[in-house]
Amino acid sequence: MIRTDFQSIILNLQSYWAQQGAVILQPYDMEVGAGTFHPATTLRALGPDDVWRAAYVQPSRRPADGRYGDNPNRLQHYYQFQVIFKPSPAESQALYLGSLKAIGLDPDAHDIRFVEDDWESPTLGAWGLGWEVWCDGMEVSQFTYFQQVGGIECHPVPLELTYGLERLAMFIQGVDNVYDLDWDGVPASDGGKIYGDIFKRAEIEFSGWNFEHADTDMLLQHFRDAEAECGRLLGLNKALALPAYDQCMKASHFFNMLDARGVISVTERAAYIGRVRALARGCCEAWIGADKVVSHG
């Protein structure tokens, strides 16, 4: 019997993708809005490796989605399981379906569909075509063939899979409230924890910070600092692509915070996104430029 507690789902996904030849990485140690931001996806989608296979959990922060712990489906902090396979294998769909089986969702016992959903990240200057995968009407994953990242064409084309772990676990465990998810498979009487035990307080406190208390002048300054530092690192004689990209991720997160605080107007919004995109583009260009130096040197 396959265990379906939250941590077992993660362990099973990791061991399944490890068996498929993926490098199992740990989360990136910065605040990001989605697993795609991890340099293992964004930058490695472009180079230098001709073959790159990786899988990892990425905690993701979307400050505007916080609901003070009240909403059974929305969180400002949640987990994505991210898989990137470059080049995309011919049997991509079969590999993906195999992963569902590995976490206790036998595709043959359900109604699985691939429903058109083109993916675009305006802040990363990235897009791809693919689907959201439905299991009995529920979106359980995002399935994308990357075409561009940082405004640069991907060659070969990577396959990106993103599992929204809370939603997936709720479906598998048959739970209607995210805070009721069984985390460890240990009975409460024996000290076992559910999702709410671990994260409810964080959701309440961070919602308060995100929406009410975060110092917006400070955030604006942080945004400007990160932007300036990123630009400076990219402008060096020998650009430092990875540290610059860290600053780009920071800028993106500060923008999300400012957005949640409601201090960015609709028109300014597009301008901020454009500024982050310019940073991402610069980092991606520096990253592949640096490759050339390394591989030729």
Binding site: R113, V115, F171, D176
Partner: protein
């Protein structure tokens, strides 16, 4: 003759593209085969598309191109030997094979060679490759290491001609080309084994082989299966399927399944208090389920899920339970917003509109609310039964729901949600209905608003938008109309015509411009609306020349009058008097044109009655007795119809070019008078045929 089957197997094609893909594929193959001379008079072709299969099946294809004779003319027979020898070499034929023939230019050598037509099998690989390379997908992608672009990764290219697989391959720009095959595949889970397409000898046989592997490849077969399945389940619970409504999204459902099975679900009681539009949006638009009506036509709590699996009681239960849970979560979200939003009165949302930009350079939405308040009230006097204060209030509240949580989540319900919230706040019904309907008509198929207040606000919204975007130079160009200004203009036209409203449009455009603080309304706004009226009337099957005759007066802003006059003139020109008058008009205008060309000046419509004979007197009397525009267009047309007889008598009994120059000039003056009087009614120079 033989049959041709081309089948492409790949990953899921977006539902919305499948119909186009099947049609394009069939058209492209037909055009290519026709171009090669193998499309016979009896040939037929069908395009088929499902999520993972795209195919054409053609019959009556020639197995080879017809043989051709290629004729080449050589040198004259008396040309130097070297020239003749050179020609012989160039043809590759022996010298004896040349013939001599006389031509108007002399006697020449001719070489005729028979070229055998190529076998169709030798041509098909290139035909398919060309079509694949140029396929017009709205969006396409690369995958793996390849450079070929397709809608999603393509796995197999199957070509079967006369029952036999075709050898060959297609270059994907990858390390390995893709070899053509004749092996299809069935439903991913129901029948994962390969299916041979060898020996397929009819469209039905092709469909049968796939159906036996649980793939219905023909879109219309899938639609029928879905509708039949849904109707049967609906009947079990005493409900009906609204097929017209289902028609608007069945493509999305049919494009997601290969093996449709209908399953019945039920909305929990607690959610049935939500507005039916909201339930419809959640269930049909977002989840792609089929909604049902009960016997009274009301929104039923039952709905139907179309699964992509063969029916199996235990699995069906699992599938339905999953879908029910998804729906419950979505409806719980909607319910949350529904209750949360109503804690604030709709008018209290208006100040929050300040944070939302209408468009850069056109201010925020709160400013828009204030403009709509003014403009709706300015429109009220021109709409029967419209209370000015009501119109102002409805205009002020119309955009408030844009900052509610519900519209944030369900943008397609803008307006409708505002209507519900207004009613909840105790706003009068006329205001709530106006808010709900003010975005209408949203497209050619959408109805116009019917209540007086709704007409005022809907018109105000569209006029404000038109004047604003034209005012900052954001006008539609060519096919680009990012702010849907054509739709806004068409909305204005339809509301005015449908409501039989006489609206002083220019004045209201001026008011709208003042509301923005513009110095004046942009000069192009009225011509733009008039131009859309022209298009609209033509779409209503009005003759373009008649429309042009009525809309000749460039300053006209009474849309209703222009539309009515177009109809009247069209009716008039269909009856005998109208046709006769046009014949007379043509004689008048062509004679004047010829004489004015000679004279190099136009003739004035002045006459001296002393020079008239009886016929001319009668015509002159008829002309001077014509009613003016106060009598109405129909009366004017009828009176013009009465001119037919005196004009006919004039031309039958009188020679214009009299020997006496004074009489001649007087008669030309009388003709000019006919022209002048008729042109006052409509521009008859525009009438053709």
């Amino acid at each position: 003759m033989a049959d041709l089957l081309v089948e492409l197997v790949g990953e899921e094609i977006p539902a919305r593209m499948q119909t186009m893909a099947a049609q394009h594929f069939a058209n492209a193959v037909q055009a290519a085969l026709d171009g090669l001379g193998v499309w016979t008079g009896e040939a037929t072709i069908n395009g088929l598309c499902g999520p993972r299969h795209l195919a054409i099946y053609a019959t009556g294809i020639a197995v080879a191109q017809p043989d051709r004779v290629i004729e080449k003319r050589g040198p004259r027979v008396d040309a130097p030997d070297a020239a003749i020898a050179g020609f012989v070499t160039s043809t590759g034929l022996p010298r004896e094979a040349l013939t001599e023939e006389d031509t108007p230019k002399g006697r020449f050598f001719f070489a005729r060679s028979h070229v055998a037509g190529a076998d169709t099998t030798a041509l098909l690989g290139d035909v398919v490759a060309d079509i694949l390379t140029q396929f017009p997908w709205p969006k396409s992608q690369r995958w793996g290491r390849g450079s070929f672009r397709w809608v999603r990764p393509l796995h197999r290219i199957n070509i079967v001609f006369d029952g036999q697989p075709l050898a060959g391959s297609f270059d994907l720009g990858d390390t390995q080309p893709m070899a053509f095959g004749a092996t299809s595949c069935g439903h991913y889970f129901e029948a994962p084994d390969d299916i041979s397409l060898v020996g397929v000898d009819s469209l039905d046989e092709f469909k049968r082989r796939l159906a036996s592997a649980h793939v219905i490849i023909d879109q219309s077969d899938r639609r029928t299966a879905i509708i039949d399945g849904a109707k049967a389940l609906a009947k079990d619970v005493g409900c009906t399927v609204d097929e017209t409504q289902l028609g608007t999204y069945i493509q999305d459902i049919a494009g997601l399944v290969e093996s449709p099975t209908a399953l019945l679900g039920q909305i929990e009681d607690r959610f049935m208090q939500l507005p039916p539009e909201l339930l419809q949006a959640t269930i049909a638009t977002h989840q792609k389920y089929i909604t049902l009506q009960d016997q009274s036509g009301a929104f039923s709590p039952y709905f139907i899920v179309i699964s992509n699996r063969q029916s199996d009681p235990a699995r069906d239960q699992v599938i339905m339970a999953g879908n029910q849970r998804v729906l419950r979560a979505r409806l719980a979200d909607a319910e949350f917003f529904w209750q949360q939003d109503k804690k604030t009165r709709l008018d209290a949302y208006v100040p929050q509109l300040k944070a939302v930009t209408f468009y850069e350079g056109l201010g925020d939405l709160q400013a828009k609310a204030v403009r709509l308040e003014k403009l709706s009230s300015a429109l009220a006097p021109y709409i029967d039964g419209c209370d000015g204060a009501d119109a102002a209030r409805a205009g002020y509240l119309a955009k408030a729901d844009l900052v509610t949580g519900m519209v944030g989540e369900f943008p397609e319900l803008q307006g409708i949600i505002g209507g519900y919230y207004a009613r909840h706040d105790g706003e009068p019904d006329s205001i709530a209905t106006a808010i709900a309907a003010h975005y209408r008509p949203q497209g050619p198929a959408d109805d116009v608003p019917h209540t007086p207040t709704a007409k005022a606000v809907a018109l105000a919204d569209k006029i404000d938008t038109l004047v604003g975007f034209f005012g900052i130079g954001a006008k539609p160009t060519g096919s680009k109309d990012p702010f849907a200004l054509r739709r806004a203009a068409l909305g204005v036209i339809r509301i005015i015509l449908d409501g039989k409203l006489s609206v002083p449009l220019q004045k209201l455009l001026d008011t709208a411009a003042e509301n923005y603080g513009f110095a004046a309304v942009d000069d192009d706004v009225l011509p733009f609306i008039r131009d859309r009226l022209r298009v609209y009337l033509r779409d209503q099957k009005m003759r373009h020349d008649i429309v042009a005759a009525v809309l000749a007066d460039a300053g006209g802003d009474d849309l209703r009058r222009m539309a009515d006059e177009t109809r009247s003139l069209a009716g008039f020109l269909e009856n005998g008097d109208g046709l006769g008058l046009i014949a007379g008009w043509r004689r008048v205008s062509s004679m004047l044109a010829a004489e004015e060309k000679k004279a190099k000046h136009a003739f004035a419509a002045t006459t001296d009655p002393a020079l008239f004979n009886d016929i001319e007197h009668a015509l002159h009397r008829a002309l001077t007795g014509l009613p003016d525009s106060d009598a109405g267009f129909a009366a004017q047309l009828a009176a013009l119809g009465d001119l037919r007889a005196p004009i006919d008598r004039f031309f039958d009994g009188i020679v214009v070019n009299d020997d006496d120059p004074a009489v001649r000039l007087n008669r030309l003056g009388l003709l000019a008078m006919i022209r002048e009087k008729m042109q006052l009614v409509a521009d008859f120079t525009k009438i053709e045929g």
